[in-house]
Symmetry: C2
Amino acid sequence: MTPEIHQLDETDKRILLAMDPDPRIPVMMLAQILGLARGTVQARLEKLAASGALRPNSIRVSPAALGRGVSAAVSAEVDQSLLNEAIAALREIPEVLDCVAPAGDTDLLIRVAAKDPDDLYRVSEVIRLCPGIKRTSTSMFLREVIPYRTTGLLEE
Amino acid sequence: MTPEIHQLDETDKRILLAMDPDPRIPVMMLAQILGLARGTVQARLEKLAASGALRPNSIRVSPAALGRGVSAAVSAEVDQSLLNEAIAALREIPEVLDCVAPAGDTDLLIRVAAKDPDDLYRVSEVIRLCPGIKRTSTSMFLREVIPYRTTGLLEE
DNA sequence: ACAAGACTAGTCAAAATGCCCAACCGAACC
DNA sequence: GGTTCGGTTGGGCATTTTGACTAGTCTTGT
């Protein structure tokens, strides 16, 4: 069931926490901060990169820096027979940040980023026009209360 | 109103896209891939790091690699007079990945990661016990249809 | 007790970095 | 027209870092 994901151990987490402010920190500095041998850190980094435990770097880019200061959740009801087509179409929309399938009433929960409320309306229209999408309900985010993070889990 | 966020130009985006697979790629390699002078890329990288346009590196860590293969959305109704206390309490829960305040019926939309459905139940209990939280509704994600990304916006 | 794997501490040549420079370009301004 | 300004270029330079090794130590499971 679990797709064989390389679990990170204590050392991996310490390395990642030390790289949190800047992933481009030299390995030597990491090693001396963490009190490890350079070779050790180097080997860990290579394994980490190969393990698939890290998502692409581009997810670090704040949508706001890309001029998309308005984000929202779009919940969509989907014609089940067209689910794959709907997903494929959503994937082509750059403003779609991510999409999950929750248990419950809504079929797809889509997170989007737009330039402004007007642009958000446009994006929600584009989504509504995707094949298989029967109904959508958009709710804008008034505030990002806690920005996405994993530090808590890394520190545990 | 907009908190003075440094907007990325075309060159910034190209640099970020080239760093997508590995943020530790040497500056020299970046420069020759992009056909820019090394000094230019170096200057851009420094500005990018200082601009706040990039989120911490730790958000790249997949919760699954931390043993949290189950994620969910918890929508919470909050006693408005205790909103700040509720948020402060949520911030202390490591399993809380992020939290937004949507316009509409639910006051807070909380994304959480847990080890398994049982653990998810525990986490939702912890949330329910936060000060000011009146009612919660948890819906587990059956599938991550489109993983979080910003590549589309970077390429535009 | 043994083998396997991870860690250490050290070496080395090759490469990259940080930090200079003078020169160049285009846009904005007087 | 002329000028200043920010960003870029291509170059040099000393220093640091990297990648790829080594051999010895430590821990863990069998």
